[in-house]
Amino acid sequence: MLNWVYWAIIAAGITGVLAGWIGKWIPFYGNYVKILQPVGIVLLVLGVWLRGGYDTEMSWRAKVAEAEARVAAAEQKSQETNTVIEQQVVEKTKVIKGKTEYITQYLDREVVKKEEIIKYIEQCPVPKEIIDIHNQAADLNKAAEGKK
């Protein structure tokens, strides 16, 4: 709608400018030439300015719409990527937990029943120093955090 209004202003401006020119040779009309020409020029300038502004506005709106569409597509893709990565991590964690559980159960169920193992456990308890070294190593993160 606005587009047509601007075109109408431009058309009125051109009409005014042309009427100002041609009007010189028309006897009665010639009296209005001095008024019509400046009015036509003003209308033409105003119309072109408004039309230019309108085109720029429309061009920006199109660019914004395009950018918004790209951002929306990226956010959608980002969300999908999150889901895939989360599933991968959850799956890996599940497998690791399961395997850890399996090894621990195998140790309790099979290994401890073997005669040589039973003999070893009875004869060789782990010395306290070894346990302490292991526990210190397990606490290495605290040393890094300055708690030790």
Binding site: I41, L44, K63, E68, V71, S78, E86, T104, V126, N141
Partner: protein, 88 residues
Amino acid sequence: MKYALLILAVFLAACSTPVPVSQRFPDVPKALVERCESLRKIEGDKVAITEMLKVVVQNYGMYYECAAKVDGWNDWYQEQKRIYESVK
């Protein structure tokens, strides 16, 4: 008339206003923000080798669980960076 044409040329340029379109910072999957557990210690002074081994196995498991999260963070960063840069 000359001035009118000059003004016309200037006005044709019209105005331009940059319109910012912001992109939301992507959320991080919940599985990645869980902290890694502390490693288990061996309890007691007189411990059988099998009990010690059990703790070691559990600690290996926890290490690999934590490594999976770190790998997940790396993958997340690489992928999100690629997506972010594809928008520019």
